[in-house]
């Protein structure tokens, strides 16, 4: 069919409001990506301050700074904000910026819905913040929002439930957009198996999101009706079951872990080949491993629930299924290592963060394997060992991959280079302090320290003091990141079109730096 005639459609002829309205009404995937990334960084700071309140209280045994109820509110909001406000939007930001450029598309498939996906988020965050100022404060139920505690909370819980609904809407709309963009907007010649791996990991992540976010919405809806409308989904007296909540939640919650991890894998799979100056080793196996992880993630959820009561056969099933995930994950780790093998390696900041990711995420994966064993988990359940495990995967794995991505693509986004020396400082401070924070938590957990408790016996004092020092060090180091980014944007050196020798995806090879406002009006010609 003929080209669509559109006199107002593209380039710089149309309606382009300036100032704040540019950002509020934008349909440009790069603007929206930028909004996502800044929003996620602000949330990362807010959630980080909450983490520091937790670590401050835990610096010494006894109750010093906050009362236990506020402590519970901090752990809850720290989890919710970091998962839904910081990590997920950060990777959606990457997806927005990069996927259209990587596949040679003009923009996202649904540019207006893209705007809505973002602009729901600040309102959801506002609801979470408002909940602190309601009678009874924010919910102190933990980010998993288990019944029956959620049924007993004040109105802050209702605000949190609706915030989760909004976050879910945002994720579903964003995911449908990403899937459609990847399936329909690839340039001619950009076959599915030629896409950069980042696009593959996001395609599969988006599928996980569309499949699981509605289930979470259902779970919190049941909580809401149990609270206000007399239903008894989670009340045994009415024939319901609090454990039902846990099953539904973790049916969402375990795929959610991979929703966070897979885009991080994607970023690392772009960064490592660029600095090894070799193509990614085992591309097809990377794609199938990603799909394998996604499929397995739907049948392992009850490993979060070994201690709530389950038939032995059930425990065995979930244990074996969980351990099986180590296979595709192992494929990925070995492929990254093989990509570096005999490469011409150089260690600029993005590569440092990617290698840091590789080591520390793998460590978090190993402790996950330990926790997958039902017999062992009964001892370790809800101890600091679990806290250490998932912070290695999320606070180190996902966050380091995010940093690797920001340093890697910052030249393309802004047209400016960051300060390499300061970037290296940022990496080394981060990697040292974060390990001080979380490595010792393994020991505290093995010794039996429970999570989500503001007080502890004297015997755990040393580990907690070390951990708190590390946490404050890590928190302060992130201000350095803010400084590096802002000074790069304002006064960084001009970046060349392709600052990284080994980078080979379309945004580096087919577009100038900084990337123009509209990348590909007409699809690029690919050989």
């Amino acid at each position: 069919m003929s080209a669509v005639l559109d006199t107002h459609g593209h380039a710089d002829h149309g309606y382009h409001p300036g100032g704040i309205m540019r950002w509020i009404t934008t349909t440009n995937h790069k603007d929206i990506g930028t909004l996502y990334l800044w929003f996620s960084f602000i949330m990362f700071m807010v959630g980080g301050v909450m983490a520091l309140v937790i670590r401050l209280e835990l610096f010494s045994p006894g109750l010093q700074w906050v009362d236990p109820d506020f402590f519970n509110q901090m752990t809850t909001m720290h989890g919710l904000i970091m998962v839904f406000g910081a990590i997920m939007p950060a990777f959606v930001g990457f997806a927005n910026w990069l996927i259209p450029m990587m596949i040679g598309a003009p923009d996202m498939a649904f540019a207006r819905m893209n705007n809505w996906s973002f602009w729901i988020l600040p309102f959801a965050a506002a609801l979470l913040v408002i909940s602190f100022f309601t009678p009874g404060g924010a919910p102190g139920v933990g980010w998993t929002m288990y019944a029956p505690l959620t049924v007993q909370m004040g109105m802050g819980m209702d605000l949190t439930i609706f915030a989760v609904h909004l976050l879910g809407m945002s994720s579903i709309m964003g995911s449908i957009n990403i899937i459609t963009t990847i399936l329909n907007l690839r340039a001619p010649g950009m076959g599915l198996m030629r896409m950069p791996l980042f696009c593959w990991t996001w395609l599969i992540t988006a599928y996980l999101l569309v499949a699981t976010m509605p289930v979470l919405a259902g779970a919190v809806t049941m909580t809401l009706t149990d609270r206000h409308f007399g239903t008894t989904f989670f009340n045994a007296a009415g024939g319901g079951d609090p454990v039902l909540y846990q099953h539904i939640f973790w049916f969402f919650g375990h795929p959610e872990v991979y929703i966070i991890a897979l885009p991080a894998f994607g970023v690392v799979s772009q960064v490592i080949p660029a600095f090894a100056r070799k193509p990614l080793f085992g591309y097809a196996s990377m794609v199938s491993a990603t799909a394998g992880i996604a499929i397995l993630s739907f049948i392992v959820w009850a490993h979060h629930m070994y201690t709530v009561g389950m038939p032995v056969a059930g425990q065995l099933f979930f244990m074996y299924a969980t351990a099986l995930i180590a296979v595709p994950t192992g494929v990925k780790v070995f492929n990254w290592v093989a990509t570096m093998w005999k490469g011409s390696l150089s260690f600029e900041t993005p590569m440092l963060f990617a290698v840091g990711f590789l080591f520390l995420f793998t460590l978090g994966g190993f402790t996950g394997l330990v926790l997958s064993l039902a017999a062992v988990d009964i001892q370790l359940h809800d101890t600091y060992y679990v806290v250490a495990h998932f912070h290695y995967v999320m606070a180190i794995g996902a966050v380091f991959a995010g940093y690797a991505g920001v340093y890697f693509w910052l030249p393309k986004w802004t047209g400016r280079m960051y300060d390499e020396a300061l970037g290296k400082w940022h990496f080394w401070l981060s990697v040292i302090f974060i390990n001080i924070t979380f490595f010792v938590q393994h020991f505290a957990g093995l010794a039996g320290m429970p999570r989500r408790i503001p007080d502890y016996p004297m015997m755990f004092e040393v580990w907690n003091k070390i951990s708190s020092v590390g946490a404050f060090g890590f928190g302060i180091s992130q201000l350095l990141f803010l400084y590096i980014i802002v000074s790069a944007i304002r006064s960084g050196e001009k970046a060349p079109d392709k600052p990284w020798e080994g980078a080979d995806s379309l945004e580096w090879t087919h577009l100038p730096t900084p990337a123009p406002r509209h990348s590909f009006h007409t699809p690029p010609v690919l050989k």
Partner: protein, 281 residues
């Protein structure tokens, strides 16, 4: 031949207006739920803003569609988008079906078979339908024959009439299109009317309420969300009918019609599942 340009729309204020509306509705709703009736103002304001936003946003899209801005390339995007949206709806219902299966297969039988049952709930039988051991009143579960069976026939027929309407559209028989589309909406409306009557009957004659233990919870939440989706579907069909009467759509360019038809069939399939596992078995 492949289209040269993909349509990228201009900046617009509707998304932020939608978010504001949702925010107002949520704040108002939470206040109402917690006994502060002033919340109704915010809730109502939010609904009004949301409706206005939907009107304007869909209005823009319809104008663009009729103005020929969308070609076959955009059409494929809409198809993917709608398919994945329906998939997300499937998963939403899956959560509630899961709760029903859990109650029937696990929690209710367990409450009558645990070792300490004699101390906690002496005499509780654990047979479905059950409102749980702590529920003292008598209630009558909803039977499958009668209204639910009639409703099944209504919805299935509405799927058939909708397909006839689609054939009319494809073959440029606008009279057939309008007639059968109208019939589909009528069937949907009768379904909803009967559903409302059934609820009233449950509350007044059967003592079956939303608070009737886990049976009432799953019954009303599943059928209620389904009814809500039928309502949405009927509204969408009505919009499509008005568009048809205004001469919109061509025999080869009518994805809005198909999207609503997909949605209607999805609602139909959910009803079949509901009829089998909620009403019948």
């Amino acid at each position: 031949m492949r289209q040269e340009h993909y349509y990228v729309p201009q900046p617009m204020p509707w998304p932020i207006m939608g978010s504001t509306a949702l925010f107002l509705m949520i704040l108002g709703g939470v206040f109402v739920m917690n006994g502060a009736s002033a919340g109704w103002i915010s809730l109502a304001l939010g609904v009004v803003v949301l409706l206005y936003m939907l009107l304007r946003w869909f209005g823009d899209v319809i104008r663009e569609s009729e103005g020929g801005k969308y070609g076959s390339w955009e059409d494929v995007s809409f198809r993917w988008g709608m398919s994945w949206f329906i998939f997300s709806e499937v998963m939403f219902f899956a959560g509630f079906f899961g709760a029903l299966f859990w109650a029937r297969a696990m929690s209710v039988p367990d409450l009558s078979s645990l070792l300490h049952q004699e101390m906690l709930w002496p005499g509780f039988k654990g047979l479905w339908p059950s409102a749980g051991p702590g529920f003292a009143e008598e209630f009558t579960p909803m039977g499958a024959l009668g209204i639910p069976a009639i409703n099944t026939l209504l919805l299935l027929s509405s799927g058939v009439t909708l397909t006839y309407a689609h054939w009319g559209l494809v073959n440029n028989q606008r009279g057939k299109l309008n007639l059968f589309l109208f019939l589909t909406i009528v069937l949907g409306a009768i379904f909803l009317g009967l559903q409302i009557y059934e609820y009233a009957h449950a509350y007044s004659a059967l003592n079956l309420k939303l608070s009737t233990g886990v049976y009432g919870s799953t019954f009303f939440m599943l059928t209620g969300f389904h009814g809500f989706h039928v309502t949405l579907g009927a509204i969408m069909l009505t919009v499509i009918l008005f568009r048809c009467l205004a001469g919109h759509f061509k025999s080869d360019h009518h994805f809005a019609f198909e999207a609503v038809a997909w949605y209607w069939h999805f609602v139909d399939v959910v009803w079949l599942l509901l009829f089998i596992v909620v009403y019948w078995l």
